[in-house]
């Protein structure tokens, strides 16, 4: 069942993205930026965690989850450190994602050649 919901919710979020691309004619950068902001806002209302509980990877894999993680990490540290906690915690949960993307992106760039 987990897998079914992951498939349906993940696919559904992508469909919203596709509609924004085809109908609103937004660029991919615009669509993804708005998705990441949406993720942060939804987490601000404590809604994104509910979606994750329900859909698992269907909610953690789309880029919306990136926005959620940014805020989540920030709020966690804010509990302990006040205002400055927002700055301390913001990249905590997303660190693995950003660090991996930079590392693997770099390595692929070193060892591969673009094919066109």
């Amino acid at each position: 069942m987990d897998y079914l919901w992951a498939f349906l919710v993940g696919g559904g979020i992508c469909v919203i993205g596709q509609i924004l691309l085809d109908v609103a004619k937004l660029t991919p950068a615009h669509v993804l930026s708005s998705f990441v902001v949406t993720g942060a806002v939804l987490d601000g209302f404590s809604l994104y965690d509910k979606l994750i509980k329900f859909a698992g990877a269907g909610a953690t894999v789309p880029i919306t989850s990136f926005g959620h993680s940014l805020l989540h990490g920030a709020m966690k540290q804010a509990e302990d450190h006040g205002f400055i906690g927002v700055a301390i915690g913001i990249f905590q949960l997303t660190s693995a994602g950003i660090a991996s993307a930079i590392l693997f992106g770099f390595l692929v760039a070193v060892f591969f050649k673009p094919k066109g």
Binding site: L21, K25, P28, P114, K115, G116
Partner: protein
């Protein structure tokens, strides 16, 4: 010789294309015109380290092959007029440093082929040079990385997009008689009909093609029937029907004689969206296929209206629209006595 009508130049001193040479990349080599290219590459890198070097190799080989076919040496060429899509025309300039031919750089986006041919013909006609080479090149990857996205980026392109062709075309122009005569050229004005989608350049460039073709016919006192072929550079499958209808609205019917280089260079089953585009598109089709058809007598008089979209990525990001331009050149078949 001289000015005719509003924007047209007539070359009465008999200006001829003595030789041409075309070079093409892997996708173009799989298209319907593959037999007409002098050199083809099956590797998009052309066995070079990077994309820009590949495009430079294409342009250089096109020019050198043209000179060889004319049985001349590089130092016997008086002038080269060249342009490409890259910032600062680097392909043309860096190729020129190897060739050591005096150079006039031109930029007309995808109209550069006819822009360079027109000016080369004018200079030959007026006697400022004995011969001149008009050349241009484009490369799919260099255009993608400069105008759009990194080549491996997963951005989904719409059906209205065109595919920049990889190729280079050059023509040697002089007063020495040959079968291909350059009769006239019409210089275009920049037109902007408020189109702003860089993934649909075809419909943005139609007004320029319309204006130049219409002005040309009026200047020459001719109608479309006077031509076997009126070919546009890269209006694609989107722009071509728009042009035909736009001209019909003015009482000019080009339906029977119109074709588009971007539609001629690829097969309909190749993954090229709405057709080919790029500086070299009109060049390789004209200097390969069209020149060949003229030589064989299958065409007698052709108007080539190369169309260019004059935007840049910065302009698009600043929400500017896309101005366009079209330059036309007439090639006719001459019987040599």
């Amino acid at each position: 010789m001289g000015k005719l009508g509003k924007q047209t130049w007539i070359f009465e001193n008999q200006v001829y294309i003595n030789e041409t040479a075309t070079v093409a990349g892997p996708m173009e080599a799989q298209g319907p015109l593959s037999e007409t290219f002098d050199i083809t590459f099956d590797d998009l890198h052309c066995h070079e380290d990077n994309w820009e070097k590949a495009e430079r190799k294409i342009l250089q080989q096109s020019i050198q092959t043209c000179i060889q076919k004319a049985r001349l040496q590089t130092d016997q060429i008086d002038l080269m007029l060249s342009g490409d899509l890259l910032n600062q025309n680097v392909t043309s300039n860096y190729a020129a440093r190897t060739l050591s031919i005096p150079i006039l750089n031109m930029f007309g986006a995808c109209s550069t082929s006819m822009e360079t041919l027109a000016v080369a013909s004018a200079l030959v006609d007026a006697g400022f040079v004995n011969n001149a080479i008009a050349a241009t090149s484009s490369h799919n990857a260099t255009a993608e990385r400069q105008f759009r996205y990194p080549t491996e980026y997963g951005g989904q392109k719409p059906a209205t997009a065109t595919t920049t062709i990889t190729g280079g075309g050059s023509a040697l122009v002089s007063q020495k008689p040959s079968t291909i005569r350059v009769e006239a050229a019409t210089i275009g004005k920049v037109m902007d009909y408020q189109m702003g989608d860089p993934f649909d350049m075809g419909s943005a460039m139609v007004p320029a093609a319309y204006d130049t073709i219409k002005t040309h016919l009026a200047d020459m006192g001719r109608s479309p029937d006077d031509y076997d072929l009126i070919v546009t550079g890269d209006l694609s499958s989107i722009g071509s029907p728009i042009l035909k209808d736009m001209m019909k609205e003015d009482g000019i019917n080009i339906d029977d004689v119109h074709n588009d280089c971007g539609l001629m260079i690829y097969n309909s089953d190749q993954p090229v969206f709405a057709g080919g585009s790029g500086t070299a598109c009109s060049a390789v089709v004209t200097y390969g296929h069209i020149v060949s058809e003229l030589r064989k007598g299958r065409l007698n008089r052709v108007l080539i209206a190369a169309t260019g979209s004059l935007h840049s990525p910065t302009m698009i990001q600043q929400k500017e629209t896309m101005p366009s331009i079209a330059h036309g050149v007439v090639l006719t078949r001459e019987e040599l006595s």
